[in-house]
Amino acid sequence: MRKLRNSIRYLLISLICLMCLIPFIVLIILSLNTPQHSLEDGSVFIPDFYFANFYEGWIKSNIGNAMINSGFITLFALILIVILGAMAGYSISRFHYKHNRIIFAILLSCMMIPGIINTVPLYSLMIKLKAINTLWGMAIVCATLAIPQAVFVFTGFIKGIPIEIEEAAIIDGCSRFKVFWEIIFPLLKPSISAIIILNGFGIWNNYSQAVFFLQNSKKHNVPQALSVYFQQFAGAKWNLMAATALIAIVPVMIAFLLLQRKLMEGLTAGAIKG
């Protein structure tokens, strides 16, 4: 009985895994076909191993530049989120003044508002600030959207750090700022990785804000570069579409495989605190 149940469990989990992998497998197969390859003759499951698609996709799609842009946006946004979020979390969890309580309450209640709601008025503000079609502008927009959650996670985490650690340093004459940077900030590692993981992929993949704030093709991020490139094919040239999509996925995949273990821990930590 127990054995049967276990084998059913194994079977189901394998099926689910396969279901999750199929699109990726198909993508690899399609990306290796020649342009002349017709799916009608021969087996669809055996590609031609034609690697020139990757070269052509890379050259023609502007994806390399888009990756640099996405990378810059992600990096800059994450630095902002972590530093500003940690500072706010420290202040809110340690100094129970009215202004900190109000700030926390406002951020918490705005946490539920998705970015699309204020995108249009933000767009006109960004024009005034000359931040449209700039990578730093986009990074700030992405960082802003992530601030409430980051403050929430950092506040919860810092509350759990015993205050005695700081008191000793303060008696020694350390300023509060120094205490924060040199004692508290290094202790935040687990929640910093949670924040980076929770937001990093989303910022790299952002499309709904990028459509507004990065219209210049030189400033396109990955999803935009891909969507512009794909629109010219109108559903034909699968080999190129698949190859370019695969190129676009590679950096995210590498990051995921490297961070995989941390990611699961991070999501868990974020979830339980959140």
């Binding site: 202040s91 100094f95 709601i117 794909f230 698949a242």
Partner: protein, 290 residues
Amino acid sequence: MKKEKIGLHTFMAIPAFLLYCIFFIYPLCRGIGMSLTDWNGIGEASFVGLQNFIDFFSDKRALTDVKTTLLFALGSAPLLNLVGLGYALLMNSKFKGKSIARMFIYMPAIISPLIMGYIWYLLLQPGRGFIYYALEDIGKGYLFGNWLGSYWSSMIVLVLVNVWQYAGMTMVIYLAGLQSIPEELYESAKIDGATGIASFRYITLPLLVPAIRINVVTNIIGSLSVFDIVMSLTGGGPGYQTETLSIYIMRMCYGNKTGYSTAVAMIMFLIILIPVLISLRLTKTKEELS
């Protein structure tokens, strides 16, 4: 008690708050103002009162978008939670290869939903999708239909692709919830003669409430503001039928109906806020209520 002087260090939350005020709260407030004008994005705006909101209720395309958005969320949010919880229950035991299975199931969630939409488009493209040829290979080509050609089937495809992509994320949070339930509770329930279903109902479910709350709220917000996947998979088609509210806002903004698009955004805000507040209320734990 000695009154402590409020030092500069207590204001360390200000930079984050300032950023948030400038780039979120201020535009939000301006949006409320803009929704009362006929601004076209370039010229002068004039105050039109609630006209945009009145127009909204006679705007057929907008009302279809509301229906589509709600239907999508109605399908997506419950299904994501059920599938995610199912996966989590299945995975919630020690077995060989667990972390690899978890990795595979989570993997779709890290890919851009826009790219995911394109990948599924390659699979499902009417008459020539990869799935069609794969079925043809085994002589079952007739099973393949023009699934992106009609409203209902496109909606089902969109919901399923969304569930497929994010079930792993929901699962991970449920798994964390399940793992925080102490094993002893199940053991003592077993001694008391509780069946598997009873212990699920009276132990698992109540203790899973925090995880349920996070998942339900994020899934409601996520599916009601869905954008990327619809853009790449159906482009809002056939016609404007599967267009969602967030796509409509973007298209109206580009169509020089800036004032109107902010009014639509305000309505969308309410559409999201109501179910979120209800589900927050329903999942309140006893401590929070007292």
